[in-house]
Amino acid sequence: MRATYACRSAEHRLARRQFLGTVSVAGGLAASGLDVFSTTSVAQQLQSQQKRIVVFNMHGGLSQLESWDPKPGTDTGGPFRAIPTSVPGIHVSELLPQTAKQMHHLCLVRGVNTAEDDHGKGIYMMLTGRRQTPAADYPQIGAVAAKTLTPEESALPGHILITPGGSGGRGNDSAYLGPKYSSIYLGNGNPPQNTTLPDSITAASDTARHEVRRRINDRFLNRRRTAVTEAFTYSYEQALQLMRQRDVFDVAKNLKRIMIGTASMTSVVIVCWRDVCWNKESPSFSSPIRTTTRITRTSTFILNNLASSISHSLVLLKIWPREACWKAR
């Protein structure tokens, strides 16, 4: 006797698609968790709006009592008070005075509850939405976003991870989605590696060799066109585009952009990371005052500087096991 699993039923599938606001002819796609996003219409819609997600992952070091979920007057509540916010009824720690003023932009999630007491497993759960199991690995939220939100022809990588220190490279965080959606590390917010021509090659020589390369490829593709050869040849064009857009990662230029109000999300986040937030030291295990100062500065900085581009952005500020997310203005 075989089970008819609820998650495969037509009703269930239909309801979920309706929930996501897409019109779809029944039948066809198998439904595993993320397959819904592969429905072309959903993906296209999301991509056309250029939705973005910023995740500030601050694991360890900061207690929820000194941030989003103060318990003043209790034995374990600590020395700090709670203050009212711009949303009546919601109180946060007095260490977040600026964030409190922005609370109407925030959606505070206090209901996260896990039995995990291990930081590694906690981080895994926060970033993948899954419990860590030995025989299966799941993609992190950034990889899922890269797959579902990044337009295919985008020159900039769809998944960027800014790390304290480190020299760049590719992360191992996309599991079965494949390395294409793995994060590109920007050590200390520096541009990705190999984005400048080596001194030994002039721009003219670079142009010349790429032209020859394109002609050779065209001849080969004329014999047989396949997805893999197309993807391979396209990656070189993407690289050239990325080189042209390299100053997206230039902190000085980004500061200027922020001042004249033309900053992109990436610019703001990089500057924010580099010069406002965590440049000097890791956030872990520093004092709550310093950490919360950073959070409050980050939040105001981002909200104040992304007037235009935040409208389709979701900012997740994760402090395991509590998290807050800022949603579209």
């Binding site: 006797m1 075989r2 690995d137 599991a175 060799r209 993807a231």
Partner: protein, 955 residues
């Protein structure tokens, strides 16, 4: 040179073998011929064979992980020997790079770039390399991987498969299922697989039961701690579906086989080495050992088919079953019969991977061209003839498959039912086993207690005896000293003590007797428990037999279902291909028709445009007519205005004259007869008459002008009417043009749509040609292949090789005898390869970091990212390797004055083929104007070819 000698030896050897085996060969076709015969039945298009150059690069990459040198490529292409492909294949197998490459492929397959936690990379790779060099059979290799415990240093590398997966049972269940049995049972862990009918939860737990008793154990020896693979005694696994909540139990089972026959062991009998601190326990019956034996003895079809399919995929870029870890009834092999033939042949070859790969390389199927078959009309005629019969066949086969699918379902239910009957008895067995354990424990305790009691008795008895002896001695002493009161007192005390101690003995004896009774009772209990155990086992045995029988029936039904579904899929695939191919003429006809319509529309468009253009001067003339008429009217109006004005003036003059005349008359009346006045009056009257005449003339002039104006006005109206008519005509013609244009656009859109459909059809067909091995697959180079290929074509490999040759010539010069000894030469080649590898291997990691998939993920999926292209374009290493160095292709091209020859060298060196005329022209055109910076220009060319798709893929 050395290779040449070796080749010749091989040919002689090969000829020898052939002559010896010729009677046998005549009886049975070689495996590569059987492959081609079998595939010919599946393929719709008659097979073609690729060019020498294509074969050379393909087989070199597949067998040695790198393309040939430019010299070797030229020699092969120029070789007139009709059998040169076979000679090449054997030379490649004999080269030391074969073992290196095959070891790397096995590493990827077995470890999927997992981190080296317990076994260092070098040790592991050396073990794999040694295994391939010794041509260790696959089944032996797997047996070593599954049974190595990591204790013995010599076999510890083999334990990496288990150790670097943390000996985690679920991870191992998944990976053993995938890698050795071609079944990814992951989704059947918590319930039957939701999408695959024949992946049961019982399959997952059966395999899990083989591996779950194994565990990592840290053993401390002196200062060092080493993790080894230990194994506990196994028990049955209980599981239930998270959906159905139906209880199940399973012992260890292999995929596609019934449960192992495990010996029934009582507690105490189940360990050879019992678990203890810092001791690796060893069970009496090792399930892992048994798993390894049963999997590799040639009798497990899943195991055999998995490996031949994986080796096939390694050579062909795609398995007969694809993906390679997805063997199930609904994803049958492209030709199940071929898979069976291969699996059986591989077992007969004694799991010899080298011999098997050789057969694959020699098959025509492997030598398919990269260029896709032409879609000829004759093909369609043949295909459409097959559609009807195939459709009919499919209906019948579907009915059969549906029946066998139902049969499998009911066989599974019957199996579960048999299991359900046995479950309570199995619980009794568990209870009986627990009772035996409990009784044994009690008996142990009783024995211990008895021992204590007996020791107590003994001790006390000894004490009593000693005291009695002392009393005796004291009494003797007292007899010698009868007067001494203190002695008498001491004797009395001693006596009292002795008597007291003697009195304590009987209770202890009693206690010992009681303890003995307990032991006896416990022994009886244990015996009873054992008897009960044996009884329940006996009771369970037939039920277990029934389960096994039901399981066997389920397996048979599953096999039948797999076969039937495979037959359906095969016919379905052929039918779909035939339908697609037979659609070609229809599509082509439709394109032709649409093109005809478009052409007509275009003609219509041109004609209507011409008609429009033609009419333009007519319309323009009408326009200018109107303008001229209007101008004439204006002029006539002006004339009339002038005439009217003149006429008015004239009339005014008449009035003035008549008034003056009246005044003159009145004056004359007053002065009658005045001569002057009379004369004036006369003149005035004369004048008035003249003026009247002039007025009359003026009126006539006005009338004439008016008439002229009316005429001009009429002319305008006429011209305007003519223009309006012309405008209407023009508009009609414009509309006709627009309509024709719209018709043309529609017709072109239809034609384009038809073309798109035709192109989609071609894409679909192309996928089918590749899937059924009519055309070659396109295989991305692994990061390792990329690294060594780049080193090969940029001459880095040869430079290091030459250096090592020189080094060995100096440090270990061969004697004259050795120089002509093929065995010595072979060893020397192997040494050289190892030395060059050791020098260059540090670079492999660089390529892996950019081109390798993540650890623990399948390594065969292709991906291309901007960071790879950035590394290739701007990274230091590649740019430095493509520079001139030693005698590499860049250096040779810089020195070559004949640019056509330079082009040949470039293409031979990097892509193992000669350039086309166009490509040669391109190189010449690129280099001709660059006399000033030829080195830079050559480097550009080498880089460009190295970064082309043709280099990135093996095709």
């Amino acid at each position: 040179m050395i290779m040449r000698v070796d080749m010749r030896c091989r040919i002689v050897l090969l000829l020898g073998i052939l002559t010896q085996l010729s009677p046998l060969a005549a009886q049975e076709a070689s495996l590569h011929d059987r492959i081609d015969q079998q595939l010919a039945l599946v393929q719709l298009v008659p097979s073609a064979v690729c060019s020498d150059a294509e074969f050379l690069r393909r087989v070199s990459l597949d067998l040695t992980g790198m393309p040939p040198t430019a010299d070797a490529a030229r020699a092969f292409l120029d070789d007139p020997n009709p059998d040169k492909r076979t000679v090449l294949v054997d030379a490649l197998f004999a080269s030391p790079q074969y073992a290196r490459h095959q070891a790397s492929m096995l590493d990827l397959m077995l470890m999927e770039r997992r981190a080296n936690t317990h076994v260092p990379a070098d040790a592991w790779q050396a073990w794999l390399l040694a295994s391939v060099r010794a041509n260790k059979p696959w089944n032996v290799l797997v047996r070593e991987l599954l049974t190595a415990d990591g204790v013995d240093a010599a076999t510890r590398p083999a334990a990496r498969f288990l150790l670097d997966r943390g000996v985690e049972p679920h991870l191992l269940t998944r990976d053993i299922g995938r890698i050795f049995f071609g079944r990814d049972l992951q989704c059947a862990q918590c319930h039957d697989h939701p999408l695959v009918d024949d992946y049961l939860q019982a399959d997952y737990h059966g395999l899990l039961a083989c591996i779950s008793p194994s565990r990592p154990q840290a053993i401390k020896e002196g200062e060092t701690t080493q993790t080894v693979v230990a194994e506990k005694a196994g028990s049955e696994l209980a599981f239930e579906s998270v959906f159905l909540k139906n209880p199940h139990r399973t012992g260890p089972r292999l995929p596609a086989a019934v449960a192992f026959d495990e010996p029934v062991l009582l507690p105490g009998e189940d360990y050879k080495v019992a678990p203890a601190d810092n001791v690796k326990e060893v069970p009496t019956f090792s399930r892992r050992q048994r798993l390894a034996e049963l999997a590799t003895d040639g009798g497990n079809q899943a195991f055999n088919e998995n490996i031949v399919n994986r080796l096939w995929a390694q050579m062909f870029g795609r398995g007969l079953v694809h993906p390679v870890d997805w063997h199930h009834a609904d994803n049958p092999a492209i030709d199940p019969e071929l898979l069976k033939i291969l699996a059986n042949a591989f077992v007969q070859m004694n799991f010899d991977m080298k011999a098997f790969l050789r057969e694959l390389a020699l098959s025509k199927a492997y030598q398919r061209p990269f260029d896709l078959p032409q879609e000829e009309a004759s093909l369609s005629t043949a295909a459409s003839a097959t559609v009807g019969p195939l459709e009919k066949e499919l209906v019948d086969l579907r009915a059969i498959a549906s029946q066998s699918s139902d049969a499998f379902s009911s066989a599974t239910d019957a199996w579960y039912a048999a299991e359900a009957v046995a479950l309570p008895v199995a619980a009794e067995v568990d209870a009986a086993k627990a009772a035996v354990a409990e009784a044994a424990k009690k008996l142990n305790e009783a024995n211990a207690a008895l021992q204590v009691a007996q020791t107590n008795v003994q001790t006390k008895q000894q004490l009593a005896a000693t005291l009695a002896t002392a009393v005796d001695a004291a009494q003797k002493a007292a007899a010698l000293l009868p007067e001494d009161a203190s002695v008498a007192d001491a004797v009395a005390k001693l006596l009292a003590k002795s008597q007291a101690v003697a009195a304590e003995v009987p209770p202890l004896v009693k206690a010992a007797e009681d303890a003995t009774a307990v032991v006896t009772a416990s022994t009886t209990t244990l015996a009873t428990a054992k008897e009960t155990f044996n009884t329940t086992i006996a009771k369970h045995a037939p039920l277990k037999q029934a389960i096994i029988a039901a399981e066997q029936a389920m397996l048979v039904a599953r096999q039948q279902m797999t076969a039937d579904k495979g037959a359906v899929a095969a016919i379905d695939r052929r039918l779909e291909t035939a339908k697609l191919v037979s659609n070609i003429p229809t599509f082509d006809q439709q394109i032709l028709e649409a093109d005809g319509v478009a052409q007509q529309a275009e003609q219509q468009s041109v004609a209507s445009q011409a008609s429009l253009d033609e009419y333009a001067p007519v319309f323009a003339a009408a326009q200018s007519n109107v303008a001229a008429a209007k101008q004439a009217l204006q002029q006539a109006e002006a004339k009339r205005m002038t005439a009217v004005a003149e006429h008015e003036k004239q009339k005014m003059q008449v009035v003035l004259i008549s008034e003056t005349s009246a005044a003159a008359k009145r004056s004359l009346d007053a002065i009658p007869g005045d001569a002057v006045l009379t004369e004036v009056l006369a003149k005035l009257q004369q004048r008035s008459a003249d003026a009247e005449t002039i007025v009359g003339q003026g009126q006539a002039a006005v009338d004439t002008a008016s008439q002229a104006m009316t005429a001009a006005s009429d002319a305008v109206v006429q011209a305007e009417n003519a223009l309006a008519e012309a405008a209407t005509q023009l508009q009609q013609r414009q509309q006709a043009v627009e309509k024709a244009k719209a018709d043309l656009a529609t017709a072109q859109a239809v034609a384009n749509q038809k073309r798109q459909q035709r192109s989609d059809l071609t894409t679909q067909l192309n996928a089918r040609w590749v899937n059924d091995f009519t055309a070659s697959s396109i295989k991305p180079l692994t990061p390792e292949q990329m690294c060594w290929s780049v080193f090969r074509v940029t001459g880095v490999y040869q430079n290091y090789w030459n250096a090592e040759v020189a080094e060995l010539e100096k440090t270990a010069p061969p004697t004259d005898a050795q120089k002509s000894d093929p065995a010595f030469q072979a060893t020397r080649q192997t040494d050289l390869e190892q030395r060059v590898y050791d020098k260059l291997k540090g670079n492999v990691g660089l390529f892996v970091s950019f081109y390798g998939a993540a650890a623990g993920q399948p390594q065969s999926d292709f991906f291309a990212t901007a960071d790879q292209a950035l590394f290739a374009a701007n990274g230091g290493p590649i740019n430095s390797w493509v520079g001139p160095s030693g005698d590499n292709v860049t250096q040779r091209m810089i020195q070559q004055t004949d640019l056509g020859l330079a082009a040949d060298d470039l293409y031979l060196g990097v892509l193992s083929r000669l350039p086309s005329a166009e490509e040669r022209r391109e190189v010449i055109d690129h280099l001709t104007p660059r006399t000033e910076d030829k080195a830079v220009a050559v480097k550009e060319l080498v880089w460009a070819v190295l970064n082309s798709s043709e280099f990135r893929f093996n095709h």
